[in-house]
């Protein structure tokens, strides 16, 4: 009988494992191998070049621009999104929710329903310097001096892109944090109020420690979003990736190197580098999270 059970388990698992191996593990494995070759992407041959591709990465100024921009996004995007989402969630939930809280929650979630490409196209229109919503709005309220060519000025372009990333992802985290706040026992808030805690003290001493785990998850997710950024940059920015590399991200460099320059080997090396960056990030975030978890009795 025992023998039969194993056979059944094997039969049930094998198809899934085979699919996983063919469509997930094998591309990964091939990517690692290809990053050590000069494969062009259009021929059946590739020459093994060792670590040459990785050595080139260090001298590739556009790739370094991309790394810098991804690093800036990695610092800014998760922090800004989490702070904003926590603020909004605590306004909508907790002790004294604002009026119409549930309607707000739905509205905040809207961007999540749109495909990223559509978001990029729409925000491209918003940022249009002549007819865009943003500059038109500024002109309408007499702030003509603040109008800018948002995506065409090197000092503003990356900020403009990051604003869209935050805008498009904040709704999801409002919902995530709202659920976390709702799961905090009401008695704790009541006790805090009896002890004379104000809104700020409640947030800092009660809410924040008890949603720490959700925040940690949010940081990992958002870190990965910040390491990507490809779609928004590709669709929205000047160049794309410009002006002059100001919004270049690793994903875009990789895409261009592979599909425009025909250097799949080198592009794969970028991908492998990005893989290790994401891996490191995930490991750090999880380790940091384990330390700071609070036990609720």
């Amino acid at each position: 009988m025992r023998h039969g059970r194993w056979r059944f388990l094997l039969a049930a698992l094998a198809p899934a494992l085979v699919l996983h191996a063919v469509f997930v593990l094998s591309p990964y494995a091939q990517a690692f191998y290809l990053s050590l070759t000069d494969w062009t992407g259009v021929a059946g041959q590739a020459r093994f070049v060792g670590l040459d591709n990785f050595a080139r990465l260090g001298a590739d100024s556009l790739f370094l621009d991309a790394l810098r921009n991804n690093a800036v996004m990695l610092v800014v995007v998760p922090a800004a999104t989490v702070v904003l989402a926590l603020f909004l969630a605590s306004m909508l939930h907790g002790r004294r929710p604002v009026r119409g809280a549930s309607a707000y929650q739905i509205v905040y979630f809207f961007p999540q329903m749109l495909s990223l490409v559509i978001i990029a196209v729409l925000w491209g229109f918003v940022y249009n310097p002549n007819t865009g919503l943003l500059n038109s709005g500024l002109r309408a309220i007499g702030l003509d001096g603040l109008t800018r060519s948002w995506l065409a000025e090197p000092s503003l372009a990356l900020i403009a892109v990051m604003a869209v990333v935050v805008w498009s992802s904040v709704g999801f985290y409002v919902v995530l944090f709202s659920a976390a706040i709702d799961s905090i026992p009401k008695e704790m808030f009541e006790a805090a109020v009896l002890d004379g805690a104000g809104r700020w003290a409640t947030l800092r001493r009660i809410t924040l420690p008890l949603v720490a785990e959700s925040v940690q998850v949010a940081f990992v997710y958002l870190g990965i979003v910040a390491l990507d950024g490809f779609v928004l940059v590709q669709v929205m920015t000047v160049g794309p990736g410009g002006p002059d590399g100001a919004t270049e991200v690793v994903g875009l460099s990789l895409y261009r190197t592979a599909f425009t320059y025909g250097k799949f080997g080198y592009a794969t090396a970028m991908g492998v580098a990005l893989f290790f960056a994401a891996l490191t990030l995930a490991v750090f975030a999880l380790r940091w999270g384990r330390r700071s978890t609070v036990e609720t009795a």
């Binding site: 494995a29 021929a43 041959q45 060519s149 948002w150 065409a152 990965i224 025909g262 999880l286």
Partner: protein, 472 residues
């Protein structure tokens, strides 16, 4: 298209490490997959050659054609296939009209089973220089020297517009033929100019004077597709080429050590820096996409826009009636230019090639001979308002204002058609030039910086042993 090696959204540390571990173990085994195909070329099945069948097509060999189905559709290609099937009734002709040609044919190139004809065009096209250096394309010399399909006594080579053959030539062998002919210039509304009494300038000095007049009239003299600075590069490089002649163009394409410091180029860069400095570029242009800038131009918010000859077809739906767009040639920088003022920058698109490892190479060549026949080209011009690469294809047709002006420009150039090749040969250099010109006209860098940084990119490519070099 996301980077292939991004991990799943929320991997646990253990699963990631396990994957990485497995990957390292499995790499040498599975790594063989993508690059497993050998180099053995399938025997090309050639038939006997005759006057009727100059390329030696085997009459019953099947033919597979993959065509980019973009702005021009694929009707014209299907018509040529029908002609092929009439001539070789035993051959099975398979047609694919696609938007993403590259995605479809790339794996087939890798597996050494490519189609017999590929129209390598559109956003997802494969980099032609890469295909050439990977020896994936057939030399078309035999086709070019074969008699033209419907013009007795002439070779295919002699029926094409100037520059078409050269445009597809890599190191002395012609590997692609572009079916449409694109000419770059400055576009304006004939109606607007007539209304205001403006005449199209012949020299750059006249251009600047006219710009001042236009600006005073409350219209921006120029706009450009700022999101893609290469649009503004085209007139800049055209002007430089006229000043410095073909030698300048060759020096640039051959990655010569001081190519980008040639006076012709720096003067042209000065000219465009001045155009920007005097405020003749519509404000905000630097952030507009091609559709936005071209729409503003069609609404008469700007007088000139640089573009290739596809503009009229592209703007068909938004051009107001009576706008009468025409293309003018880029004004000459000075009277001492080495090329006549009528010279134009021209190149082809709809880039047809026959893969080297195709099963029916002779059939592929024969198909191109039929496609590049005058009758087929004329039908194309009529249907698409676009100049085909076959000379005289538009003779006797009533043309729209834009296409008429393009044809007139080609006639006036009388063989003085040139093209920079670095854009197809060295895509990274093209990016460096685009970025630099974008910075130049937004006055963030000087002309000296402009030439220095492009030269640096050019030198880096010249030194890079992994890049296949071409010379002309």
């Amino acid at each position: 298209m996301n980077p292939a090696s991004l991990p799943e959204p929320y991997p646990s540390r253990r699963s990631l490490l396990r994957t990485a571990g497995l990957a390292t173990v499995a790499a040498p085994l599975l790594g063989a997959c993508v690059t497993a195909a050998g180099d053995d070329k399938p025997a090309t099945t050639g038939g006997a050659k005759s006057a009727e069948n100059p390329l030696g097509v085997k009459p019953d060999a099947p033919l597979e054609v993959v065509v980019f189905k973009g702005g021009y559709g694929d009707e014209y290609a299907i018509k040529a296939e029908q002609k092929y099937a009439e001539k070789y009734p035993d051959a099975e002709v398979e047609h694919q009209g696609l938007q993403k040609v590259g995605e479809a044919v790339q794996p087939r190139f890798v597996a050494n089973t490519p189609p017999d004809v590929v129209d390598n065009t559109g956003a997802g096209r494969l980099d032609i220089a890469t295909l050439v250096s990977a020896k994936q394309v057939t030399d078309l010399a035999e086709l070019l020297d074969a008699p033209a399909f419907d013009q007795p006594g002439r070779k295919v080579r002699d029926t094409l517009l100037p520059g078409v053959v050269e445009d597809g030539t890599f190191d002395g062998s012609t590997v692609t033929l572009n079916f449409t002919y694109t000419v770059w210039g400055l576009w304006y509304s004939k109606a607007l100019f007539a209304e205001r009494g403006w005449t199209y300038p012949k020299t750059w000095a006249e251009m600047l004077t006219l710009c001042e007049t236009i600006k005073k009239a409350g219209i921006a003299p120029w706009t450009y597709q700022g999101k893609y600075p290469e649009y503004l590069n085209d007139p800049l490089l055209t002007m430089a080429a006229k000043t410095g002649g073909l030698d300048l163009v060759k020096a640039v394409d051959n990655l010569e050590p001081a190519a980008w410091r040639q006076p012709g180029l720096t003067q042209a860069a000065e000219a465009f820096a001045e155009l920007a400095g005097k405020g003749y570029l519509m404000s905000g242009s630097e952030a507009l996409s091609h559709t936005e800038a071209q729409a503003a131009w069609c609404q008469r918010k700007a007088a000139f826009i640089p573009c290739g000859s596809w503009l009229e077809a592209e703007q068909k739906d938004v051009t107001p009636a009576g706008f009468d767009m025409v293309m003018g040639t880029v004004p000459a920088a000075s009277t001492g230019d080495r090329m006549p003022g009528a010279a134009v920058q021209a190149a082809g698109s709809e880039s047809y090639l026959v893969p080297a490892k195709a099963a029916n190479v002779a059939g592929g060549l024969e198909y191109l001979r039929i496609l590049f026949a005058k009758e087929s080209a004329t039908a194309f011009a009529q249907a698409n308002n676009t100049l085909p690469a076959v000379a005289g294809a538009t003779d006797g047709l009533t043309l729209s204002s834009g296409l008429g002006s393009v044809r007139d420009a080609v006639t006036a150039a009388a063989g003085d058609a040139f093209n920079f090749r670095f854009r197809t040969w060295y895509a990274p250099l093209a990016k460096a030039v685009d970025d630099a010109t974008g910075e130049l006209v937004n006055r963030r860098i000087s002309v000296a910086d402009w030439s220095a940084r492009i030269q640096k990119a050019s030198d880096a490519l010249a030194k890079d042993g992994t890049v296949t070099k071409y010379t002309r």
